[in-house]
């Protein structure tokens, strides 16, 4: 029995003539932070989309915690414990910030469908407390009664992290969690992610910001043109000449 919670096995995905993912094999150990880096268009987001069931791979399987995710509905994958934070914030813009977090909390409690139409929201104290708690974690507690549609982009991303955390996922997929954030917000987010790391949640993170990657990741995979060209600990990756050529060339480390 391996300790790998996520096992991506020979996943292939093409769009028309474009080979977006070619024979991807990736194993993520339980409780670790695994970063996937690579230049734009390397197939990183496609890989996450395959994991959450948004895209079906041409071949290969995604195994998670003893289940095969390939072919499952997105909501079933969520139920299995895989939650994704999107690159462009996907929130419920017509609801308040608090409600945005309560919805996924209900999903966790109620399953895929529950017809609980009689109990008033104000009587759902436990869910509300959970949501408030998570909002405090991400630093949005003071404005939780505001409309979420008019938040800044950085705030929306933090809200999304809160929406993911409230579900206590076994595996959290983060798609560039700090893109478009100010330095200050980025550091806050890193602190937040570190805090969750201590709780033992497995995370796969896609990131351009090397500062973020090297301060969080236990292992790093480098993706270029749909292939994994290197994998290892941060130090190994830093020293790998192939990686430097393909990607890290001009980056400050």
């Amino acid at each position: 029995m391996s300790d790998y919670i996520l096992d991506i096995d020979k996943v292939d995905k093409t769009f028309g003539g474009l080979h977006a993912l070619a024979d991807i094999n990736l194993k993520v150990e339980k409780g670790t932070v695994h970063a996937i880096i690579g230049p734009n268009g390397a197939g990183k987001s496609t890989l996450l989309n395959v994991c959450i069931g948004k895209l079906a791979p041409n071949s290969g399987t995604v195994n998670f915690d003893g289940q095969i995710l390939t072919g499952m509905h997105p909501y079933q994958i969520n139920k299995a414990g895989v939650v994704r934070v999107f690159q462009t914030p996907e929130i419920f813009p017509d609801l308040t910030i608090l409600q945005n977090v309560m919805v996924p909390a209900f999903a966790k409690r109620d399953g895929t469908f529950t017809f609980n139409f009689w109990k008033s929201m104000s009587a759902e104290r436990k869910i509300r407390q959970e949501a408030e708690h998570v909002l405090e974690d991400v630093g949005l507690a003071e404005q939780m009664h505001n409309h979420s549609g008019s938040m800044s982009r950085g705030d929306k991303r933090r809200l999304e992290i809160a929406m993911a955390l409230v579900q206590h996922p076994k595996l959290l997929l983060l798609d560039e969690p700090t893109a478009g954030m100010s330095r200050h917000d980025t550091n806050r987010t890193i602190d937040l992610l570190k805090k969750i790391k201590e709780r033992g949640m497995t995370k796969v993170i896609i990131e351009h910001d090397m500062h973020v990657v090297f301060s969080l990741a236990d292992r790093i995979s480098v993706l270029a043109q749909g292939r994994i060209i290197a994998e290892g600990t941060p130090d190994e990756i830093r020293g790998n000449p192939k990686v430097q050529e393909a990607y890290l060339g001009g980056a400050e480390l």
């Binding site: 959450i52 948004k54 509905h73 997105p74 909501y75 969520n78 139920k79 939650v83 994704r84 999107f86 996907e90 929130i91 419920f92 813009p93 017509d94 609801l95 308040t96 409600q99 309560m102 919805v103 996924p104 209900f106 999903a107 966790k108 109620d110 399953g111 895929t112 469908f113 529950t114 017809f115 609980n116 139409f117 009689w118 109990k119 008033s120 929201m121 104000s122 009587a123 759902e124 869910i127 009664h145 409309h147 929406m163 579900q167």
Partner: protein
């Protein structure tokens, strides 16, 4: 969109109940207190409340809800004919059968969203309408409409030894459903229907529906299977429509296919958005406004208009009548169309949004005044600084 407390909701319910039950009193100054119109308010109110649970909460625009209204009416009349003139079985069967129809139509239509959903519901409703007019004539009595006959069996009534001479009228355990008693029966059901809708709006279920409207894809990645939610909302709103349809038959035991036409579906859409889709009270306001003005305007004609405007100087009177005349009497629908456009263009949130905007005005003024004061202070400070420097 802050959440109302249970206490506030109880106040709302109490006020609503009082308002509905005392409607004959407070509507008398505007001449809307006769039972016929009051019944219409209540029945179409139920229809719109139900429609709002689907459209207002989930954003799915059905153009076929009139079909469920029609099913409710036909079922109720059949219940009167075959079972009993008592309204209770009629209402129950009407609602249930409409719910079954909604389940079937909704199950298929909800495989698509957006405009495809609208067209699917429209197609199903048109099928019901066309069939009701043609091959289903044995059930619907075609163009004449289904009505009571002298020879109807009334099985349950005969069982209890009730015999009718002549055409019977609908009753609630002996209480005839004509005039005010008919209205109060509808009113009590309206209050119950409103209460149920309030609970749905305030529940986790309601919030999930709203979240679907806001971002359906996200709901799926959040772990919800959205289709059962939508189907439940669809069936509930279909049952509301069936309930309204059977109440139409309670107050007047006659059911015609024109009740199912798609323009009738359009009317409930209009009433809902006019008042404010997605708000609790809005649809009822829409119903009140439309049914009231329909009543007033469609009764007017050129002659009555001249009487109304007789206080004006002759030439202004003639001019006014000439302008207003196309919109009254037969022209009421023209007015409706114009109203429809005006609302969608200028006030997509309906009357409720208008009220909210007006209510916000003082605050806006205050904020503006505050801002102006700050600017003035700032400018003064700058000037002072400049003079010093």
């Amino acid at each position: 969109m802050s959440m109302a407390t249970p206490k506030q909701d109880m106040v709302t319910m109490a006020l609503f109940t009082a308002a509905v039950l005392s409607a004959p009193l407070w509507l008398s100054p505007i001449g809307a207190n006769y039972p016929d119109l009051l019944q219409k308010f209540a029945i179409y109110g139920i229809f719109a409340i139900g429609f709002n649970i689907l459209f207002g909460l989930t954003g799915y625009l059905s153009f076929g809800h009139a079909a469920f209204l029609g099913v409710g009416s036909y079922t109720a009349v059949w219940s009167f004919k075959l079972l009993s003139m008592n309204v209770i079985p009629a209402v129950i069967f009407g609602t249930l059968l409409a719910g079954l129809f909604a389940l079937a139509i909704g199950y298929l239509s909800l495989r698509r969203s957006g405009i495809y959903f609208s067209i699917l519901t429209l197609a199903f409703a048109q099928m019901c309408y066309n069939l009701a007019y043609s091959v289903l004539t044995p059930i619907t009595n075609g163009e004449t409409g289904l009505q009571l006959d002298i020879g109807d069996p009334h099985v349950l009534d005969s069982l209890f030894g009730i015999e009718y001479t002549g055409l019977p009228s609908t009753s609630l355990f002996g209480l005839q459903m004509t005039g005010y008693s008919g209205f109060y029966f509808c009113a009590v059901i309206l209050i119950l229907a409103f209460f149920l809708s309030l609970r749905i709006f305030r529940s986790a279920f309601g919030m999930k529906l709203r979240a679907i409207k806001s971002n359906q894809t996200r709901m799926m990645y959040t772990g919800f299977n959205t289709r059962p939610y939508l189907l439940t909302a669809f069936v509930i709103s279909g049952m509301y429509a069936g309930l309204a349809g059977s109440l139409l038959a309670v107050t007047d035991p006659l059911a015609g296919a024109e009740r199912m036409q798609w323009t009738a579906s359009g009317e409930v859409v209009l009433m809902t958005i006019l008042g404010g889709a997605g708000t609790l009270i809005g649809p009822l306001l829409g119903v009140g406004l439309i049914k009231y003005f329909e009543n007033i305007f469609s009764a007017l004609n050129e002659q009555t208009l001249h009487e109304v405007f007789a206080f004006l100087p002759d030439w202004i009177e003639n001019l006014t009548v000439a302008i207003v005349n196309p919109f009254v009497g037969e022209g009421w629908h023209l007015m409706l169309g114009v109203l429809f456009m005006v609302i969608v263009i200028f006030l997509p949130g309906g009357v409720m949004e208008g009220i909210r905007r007006i209510a916000d005005l003082p605050r806006k003024f205050r904020r503006k005044a505050e801002k102006r004061r700050q600017e003035a202070e700032h400018a003064a400070a700058l000037r002072a600084a400049e003079e010093e420097g």
